[in-house]
């Protein structure tokens, strides 16, 4: 291996500073006692207290979580089905259109997706609210799920499934007992991706929500348009903390699973 040069060390340090310093500053100022975000007036957790009293934010957070759980679950089922179709179904009528509809939403500007769904909901006379946001989120995140799951399915060894069929499994049993456990990590990360996409989305939710349902990003957006506020810093800090804990836990779990699998494989190799 080549020596790790000063140039490389510098670009890593500066690069990660650029990525993380803004968020660290944001977190520090959430503990500021002053209402003015730019003046440091001592340590305080009062903005967290005020946040917990703020009914509007709590309601919006609740709506957001409900939408995210339901839409990512729908997206996972539909996206996994779509991935199986893409990888396994072979040729069928309209295949090109199908794969086009899977990949197009990934690169579509959100303003266009939002606008088109809104016009659809109005066209069929559907009241805008929590249901329409959920439908919209399920639609664009199923495409992400199917990309994640199909990349796992491509590398899947089909002979395992054939062995299960030879041993007397029905096709559905073979899927449930062999295929599903193997692609499960991809399905789970697909669900997590869909969940975070739904939690984050401002643009599509703004188009498809009505007066009855406001999500957290919509609430945050309308608050920050007026300027920086310590309460939003506190809210952001909580969200950053949840994501950080989640990502680190997920990576530790997957690392431990990999280690376990390796150990099992070694044990199996010794036995034979």
């Amino acid at each position: 291996m080549r020596r790790f040069s000063w140039f490389n060390a510098t670009s890593l340090t500066l690069g990660f500073a650029f990525l993380y310093v803004p968020m660290i500053i944001l977190i520090i100022y959430s503990f500021n006692a002053s209402k003015l975000v730019t003046v440091w007036a001592g340590f305080s957790t009062k903005w967290y207290g005020e946040l917990m009293q703020n009914e509007a934010f709590l309601d919006a957070a609740w709506v957001t979580i409900k939408v995210a759980v339901v839409s990512s679950s729908i997206a996972t089922v539909l996206g996994t089905m779509a991935a199986i179709v893409l990888v396994r179904a072979g040729r069928f009528h309209g295949r090109t259109l199908f794969s086009g509809m899977i990949y197009a939403p990934l690169v579509m500007p959100e303003v266009i997706t939002g606008l088109s769904l809104l016009l659809l909901f109005i066209g069929i006379g559907m009241d805008r609210g929590i249901v329409t946001i959920t439908l919209a989120h399920a639609t664009f995140s199923m495409c992400y799920v199917s990309v994640v799951v199909s990349s796992r399915l491509i590398s899947f060894d089909r002979s395992l499934e054939e062995a299960a069929l030879d041993l007397g499994c029905s096709q559905f049993e073979a899927f449930r007992l062999v295929t599903l456990p193997i692609i499960a990590p991809a399905v789970i990360s697909g669900w997590l991706l869909a969940f975070t996409l739904s939690l984050d989305d401002l643009v599509i939710a703004s188009f498809t929500s009505g007066p009855s349902a406001t999500t957290l990003p919509i609430k945050i957006y309308s608050a920050v348009r007026l300027g920086v506020s310590p309460e939003i810093n506190a809210l952001s800090t909580i969200m950053i903390a949840i994501v950080t804990v989640g990502v680190i836990t997920a990576s530790l779990v997957s690392k431990r699973n990999a280690v376990n699998r390796q150990r099992e494989e070694q044990a199996a190799a010794r036995m034979t």
Partner: protein
């Protein structure tokens, strides 16, 4: 039978909630603005039979598209979006390439941690990451305070509400999309090729320019499209960090729809934006396909 449902369910879902909405946008782009609910005319009356359908198509015209070409605002916004997306893609490449390069050179045991540090911001809310810069770039913000304190400047800089703030916002939020594909390409690079180049008399810089850059070309192309395509239709960044002079088409579409309530013009803006995007999207797909074939 099972295969039929497996195909039919996601197919029907996407057709209803992705394809059909698209044709509705196209249809409304060809309609006229009206003071009614919904605010456009003609509206298709399916119960009206053949004559209603004929009248409906007769009333469609390209008026909104012609309007887009006559009003300066729109084509200026398209050009300005293209300019902002191009320049910020180049900046993202300039910032992202050295990071990806250093990651690929880093010791093996660092790599999972470095990867996680790049991916972590991607899982963090986009809105929050843009918001973080509002506090930093404002007139009394962190950056100005810091620069005044060090004595580099004597007057606070005006960065927020300018295009500069938009560039910073795009580079910051899309940086992981640039780093990851370049890193993937550089990681596969065989170090012995560089040694061979140096043995044959290349300087280190020449070896980098003649070997490393061409071999990471696919990563550079993929990363650039992954930044350019979403940046072109970006709404949140110009709306929070840009000023009233920042013209970006995503923002115009939003305002046309929510403030002016001119749905036909908003739809026409969307159709034209899509036409502009088709070229980079097709180029991107072709690059991805070529890469997939090369790997097989």
């Amino acid at each position: 039978m099972r295969r039929f449902f497996l195909i039919a369910i996601p197919y029907a879902w996407l057709t209803l909630l992705f394809l059909v909405p698209f044709f509705i946008v196209l249809k409304i782009a060809l309609s006229d603005y009206a003071l009614s609910i919904p605010p456009y005319t003609p509206q298709l009356d399916i119960g009206g039979g053949w004559m209603a359908l004929k009248n409906f198509f007769a009333a469609l015209d390209f008026e909104n598209f012609i309007f887009l070409t006559t009003d300066d605002l729109y084509w200026k916004a398209y050009l300005s979006s293209l300019k902002i997306a191009t320049i910020s893609t180049l900046f993202t490449l300039a910032v992202g390439y050295p990071i990806a390069y250093a990651m690929a050179q880093a010791p093996d045991e660092w790599r999972p941690t470095l990867m996680m540090l790049v991916i972590l911001p991607f899982w963090t809310s986009f809105l929050i990451r843009v918001y973080a810069w509002m506090g930093i770039l404002s007139k009394e913000g962190f950056l100005n305070q810091f620069l005044l304190w060090t004595g580099i400047i004597s007057e606070p800089l005006t960065i927020i509400n300018t295009n500069t703030a938009v560039y910073i916002g795009i580079v910051y939020t899309y940086l992981p999309f640039m780093i990851l594909p370049i890193y993937a390409a550089l990681e596969k690079l065989d170090a012995s090729l560089l040694e061979a180049a140096e043995d044959l008399g290349c300087s280190r810089f020449q070896a980098f320019w003649l070997v490393t850059i061409p071999l990471s070309k696919n990563g550079i192309i993929a990363g650039s499209f992954l930044v350019f395509i979403p940046a072109l239709g970006e709404f949140v960044i110009p709306s929070l960090l840009g000023g009233s002079k920042t013209l970006m088409i995503g923002k115009i579409l939003w305002e046309e729809f929510f403030s002016n309530r001119d749905w036909p013009v908003a739809s026409a803006v969307a159709v034209v934006l899509l036409l502009i995007l088709i070229i980079p999207i097709v180029l991107f797909q072709r690059n991805q396909q070529k890469q997939a074939e090369a790997e097989q």
